[in-house]
Symmetry: C2
Subunit: 713 residues, 2 copies
């Protein structure tokens, strides 16, 4: 396989992504230097394809800056990240570094970036790139380096700059395909594949290949640079499915076009219909001509238009790919759809090794063959073709972090804005995917309407993508409570929920059922479930209950914590992190309820824990009265409160204590003794239990609650 490699027809020797570990520091420094200069040169050489300055300064699509921005951007990125990391002290050009810092994320198709930019002249940017090039080489030569390179290494910042530039190598090549062809000039060092079947009927027929049920663990473990979203771990059980042997070719996709697929809303979901109505698309975006005249259709490549290569993979967005699948499913009666990310990994088991170890690329990837797609039956890989390479393959999976995901602090907006449920993962890489992009572990995601060098293969699968949106919780109160209940210790103060449950476990013998009333995001409920048979977590706030329920489902909750000014920290909470098993979690039932209006359940509990509840109720006396009936004789009521009475929560006439009665100070503790005296016996001296709620990186609420323990008579 891969016998007639065309390198030498112009493309430079393919690069290998470098390994983070090694024994020889200076050798590694040389590797980094080479990898940097290779990437830099490759990126600049791509811009040779632009025929004129107009091509630099005109937007290819409304949602992105013109190419002049990207020409400078990859250089400014090095300087901005090195400045942010405190690794260099001086800028090269503050103006350029400010202007070319922030790209435009792909948004909805009808968003318009109407800002006016006064872009620098090309010569100015060439000069600037020269200066940055020298500065980075100097930096690489002088930076402290120890092996393996890790997140904290200065070299990681350099690798980040290199891999960032390699991403823009690909995305800029897409933007070039979207410019008028006359603004481009084909270059011998960016050669297109010459092999193509221009007779539609000659295109190979696709078939389905079966794959057995598989268990896989996703998450990067290899020894190369990765973006933060690649790390972590996800265990997957993938049911048996079938997958198309080849990517869908232009010919195969034409059947959908011919069948009026672009005109029939039934194949399109709501987002797809919206895009269709906005774009007025009638065929794939890189097709040139009219869908009704297939014989004279052309395909737009990087710098030229060629007669339609019907056996090359079709390039579409995810909306078009999904529409094709629906049509095909209807047509065949099979549950045809796009694969999940995990299903792609099942396919990927058919390909040996990974890019750093490839002697020769097993597919049209890593710029190892051409500067274009090639026939879908050109590169067999196991029982399939093009599992990697040729064009990216859309999946149904919205991108999200794996369990244990942590944001890289130096590029905290690389992944997190895409964890919005709207960005679908693409897998496999294209002909121009190099470096990290060409790795098995790489994960990129785009809005479903967006174009890349991306097509698809379909699967026959019963999978149903959980369209769970798991974005960062931005509700400040929910975030604060997640951090309070699941986050780290501050000032060495032990976890409050755990401390309260420790007390409960000392005084409650019968561990039948427990009620955690005012459970917030549920930590104490889960802690109780370690030893109680049944736990009810109740809170007035549905927002909290939703969070607790998602934790029961095994989800990881992400939240943002204010750090300093507008800067935030990305955090996560999950039951596995606190060592709660799914069985334990299942013992907890979370319900929304009002502690001041308890429903007359038949149920009563061996323990009721009311933590940080009393002084947030509008009628705490009523709660204290009603709760008695919910506790079995001999059962225990634990009340923990800092007695922070505020009229905002409790009308002053309802404060049980912290008031003057007959002119005398009546503390809340005295009031509790009086109110509970009839039904309860106080069995412990009151305890002080501290807790800390973090507000920013440096500011915290540090409170000492009083815990009183009462046994029902």
């Amino acid at each position: 396989m891969a016998s007639n490699k065309t390198v030498g027809a112009g493309l430079p020797e393919p690069t290998h992504t470098l390994l983070l570990s090694g024994n020889d520091v200076e050798q590694k420094r040389d590797e980094i230097l080479n990898y940097f200069t290779q990437t830099w040169a490759l990126y600049e050489s791509l811009f040779d394809c632009l025929a004129n300055e107009r091509a630099y300064f005109t937007k290819a699509i409304s949602l992105r800056h013109p190419l002049i921005f990207y020409f400078g951007h990859t250089a400014t990125f090095y300087i901005n990240k090195l400045m942010a990391a405190g690794l260099i002290e001086d800028r090269i050009d503050p103006h350029i570094e400010a202007m070319l810092a922030i790209g435009v994320d792909e948004m909805s198709w009808d968003d318009l970036d109407t800002s006016h930019y006064d872009w620098p002249a090309l010569a100015e940017l060439r000069d600037y790139r020269g200066k940055v090039h020298r500065r980075i080489i100097e930096f690489i030569k002088e930076m402290p380096l120890s092996l393996p390179i890790d997140w904290e290494s200065p070299a990681w910042v350099i690798l980040m700059g290199i891999e960032h530039e390699r991403i823009h190598l690909e995305t800029s090549s897409v933007l070039m395909r979207q410019l008028p062809v006359e603004w481009l000039q084909p270059q011998p060092h960016w050669p297109a594949c010459q092999r193509a079947r221009t007779d539609r009927t000659a295109a190979p027929e696709n078939t389905l290949v079966s794959l057995p049920e598989t268990t896989l663990t996703l998450g990067k473990t290899d020894d190369t640079y990765g973006w933060d979203n690649e790390y972590g771990r996800l265990d997957c059980d993938i049911k048996a499915f079938k997958a198309s042997k080849m990517l869908v070719s232009n010919a195969e996709f034409y059947e959908f076009v011919q069948a009026g697929g672009y005109q029939d809303p039934q194949w399109w979901d709501e987002e797809g219909q919206g895009w269709l109505s906005f774009s007025k698309a009638e065929m794939p975006t890189f097709w040139v001509g009219a869908a009704s005249k297939p014989a004279i259709l052309k395909l737009r490549l990087l710098a030229e238009e060629v007669p339609m290569p019907w056996d090359w993979p079709v390039e579409v967005n995810q909306l078009e790919a999904a529409a094709f699948c629906r049509w095909k499913a209807e047509d065949t009666g099979k549950s045809i759809q796009l694969p999940t990310e995990a299903e792609w990994y099942v396919l990927r088991q058919q390909v040996e090794g990974d890019q750093p170890g490839w002697d020769q690329a097993p597919g049209n990837i890593n710029l190892a063959w051409w500067a274009s797609s090639c026939p879908v039956d050109r590169f067999p890989q196991g029982d399939f073709y093009d599992i990697v390479g040729n064009v990216w393959q859309w999946t149904t999976t919205p991108i999200s972090g794996f369990d244990g995901f942590k944001v890289h602090p130096l590029y905290d907006d690389f992944s997190t804005p895409t964890f919005d449920g709207k960005h679908a993962i693409i897998k496999g890489g294209s002909w121009i995917s190099t470096g990290n992009e060409a790795l098995k572990s790489s994960r990129y995601a785009f809005r479903r309407h967006f174009f890349q060098h991306a097509g698809f293969r379909y699967v026959v699968s019963t999978h149903q993508e959980k369209l769970t949106v798991n974005p960062y919780e931005t509700d400040l109160l929910v975030s604060q409570y997640l951090d309070f209940q699941y986050g780290p210790r501050y000032f060495n103060v032990p976890n409050y929920a755990r401390a309260l449950v420790d007390i409960a476990e000392q005084v409650v013998e019968k561990r039948g059922s427990a009620l955690d009333i005012g459970c917030a995001t549920g930590r104490a409920s889960f802690e109780l479930a370690r030893t109680f048979d049944q736990v009810t977590g109740m809170d007035y706030s549905a927002r909290f209950i939703d969070v607790a329920l998602s934790l029961v489902r095994g989800e990881e909750r992400r939240y943002l914590m204010p750090e300093e000014g507008e800067l935030v920290q990305y955090c996560q909470a999950s039951l596995s992190e606190i060592g709660i098993t799914p069985e334990q979690a299942k013992r907890v039932q979370f319900v929304q309820g009002d502690a001041c209006n308890l429903k007359p359940h038949s149920e009563s509990y061996d323990l009721v824990l009311a933590s940080n509840l009393l002084d947030r109720l509008r009628d705490p006396r009523r709660f204290l009265h009603d709760i008695s009936a919910k506790i079995v004789s001999g059962g225990v009521l634990i009340i923990s409160s800092p007695y922070t009475w505020l009229e905002e929560f409790t009308p002053k006439e309802n404060w049980i204590g912290g008031v003057r009665e007959n002119g005398e100070a009546l503390s809340s503790y005295q009031a509790l003794q009086r109110l509970l005296d009839g039904d309860f016996e106080e069995i412990n001296p009151p305890l002080d239990v501290p807790f800390v709620i973090r507000e920013t990186a440096r500011k915290h609420q540090h409170t000492v609650a009083q815990v009183t323990v009462w046994r029902k008579r």
Copy 2:
């Protein structure tokens, strides 16, 4: 002296205030029991003077409850305090104990208590008193007791109840004098003095007696129960002065009345004129008849009217006494005025011993002689008469706590509401002053328009009463800062100002001048003054500067800290408590100023400390720019901040850090390095210094500031 003691004419044997210490616990228990029952019986016997129920249920004056309230009140007080202290578990009668709990403080003369009260019947209250009497005896017999009795002893609560009843013995007797005389019935066990000169010209002539300059320390140190305001310590230097040998008699005061003193506003201060115009007074309140007909004037005693005893002390409020002094000063050309509290203590040196040790009372006090005043020349005491006894003597001194004053938590509204600059101290006691009231250390104070069995003696003195109002600071922010800067440690976190000055002292060699910018209530300024020659404390808030200035003057600042709900803690701050000497304090100059608009002083400093300032400025960049010119070359700038940027204080565009710049996170520390780089060298790695600001008894802000240290180039 005091040879013809009249006890036996009806008054019971005088009591002695009991000592707190002793060797025999059970003997002390008996003493307490006796003291309680004596007081209780004495109080009830006073009410024998009321002739009918109308006398119980009609208000004597609009500002106070009717006597029925006071009849029950002293009993409910025991129960309410014992409940509040958690020493008893059950009430005797919740309704009565709620209704008779709170008296009406003497207010302005035109305040009216218009509440409707449904007072209990007399028989009901008699029954109630009986129950309380039995309960308290039982309590005294059973209470844990160890010697000496202190603030925490259960016995202290009993003594509080006893002394409280003795106060009301006196104030109720005043109210009885203010009821129509026909509602009273003279009782043989409340005998008035029979000795009186009813011929005005026969009244003894007053003279002035000289007293030398004296140094005294005020503040209770004896071994008896005291109210919280008596404790603490005040060192006084009292210049030489003269004092009237006798109290001002009715005859002597008549000269002022005759001279038209009540009609001439020049003798009355503003408050006096207001009272005069409201009351339409033309002569002292207990005089009966017309000022123009002195021959037939009578004097109202407790239960009768008697022909005017011209040689008895006149009874007036402080406004009348002060008016008399002004008139007398004009008349004589001498600086006649009322004495200060300290001047009274100079006089008090002429009287040996104190009430607990008296075999026979040296004056008309402690109910040792009569149930009325007596002639002003009846009881010689040293070179004077009536330094103690006969009637209370008004001073010019507004009551306030001595240095080190602490509120007794079980009666925290006994003293503190009178620390308002409007309550003048009375000294010396009257014929009915017993128990604590009869002690040298006792301190009572009333609004200046109020009547007691009180008159005055005058002094020729150059003293000028500092009419400093030193009430409790109720501005929450000022209180929080006083506590933050001068209060105790919380969570064992060291004082923040001191911690910062420790850092300063490590890096600043030349200790010439220092600027503490954003000094708040000045703690760091004072700490700097320990080693710097000159310190400027600057703050934008005049409220803070006022506090700092008063501390420089040696004043104690009192403030309230929220404790729980509406309950507060009474706190105080002073330089002596933190070991700052007056010389050190004088090195500090406090000025109001704007850190974002620094005046171009010629001055520059060896040290500028900017603590918790940066993130509260509207333009921190300007401050960082301007401050450079204020620091000598080689001088040091210390910035301490938690970088809590809030738009409330700093418009977002002015945040120096905690922002994204060119898409990269820019921390405030990085921003500081950049902004200060030109003029400064960073000479220390940044330090984390924690601080705690208490919000309630259980809730705190716990913050970790970053301290950066910069040397001016």
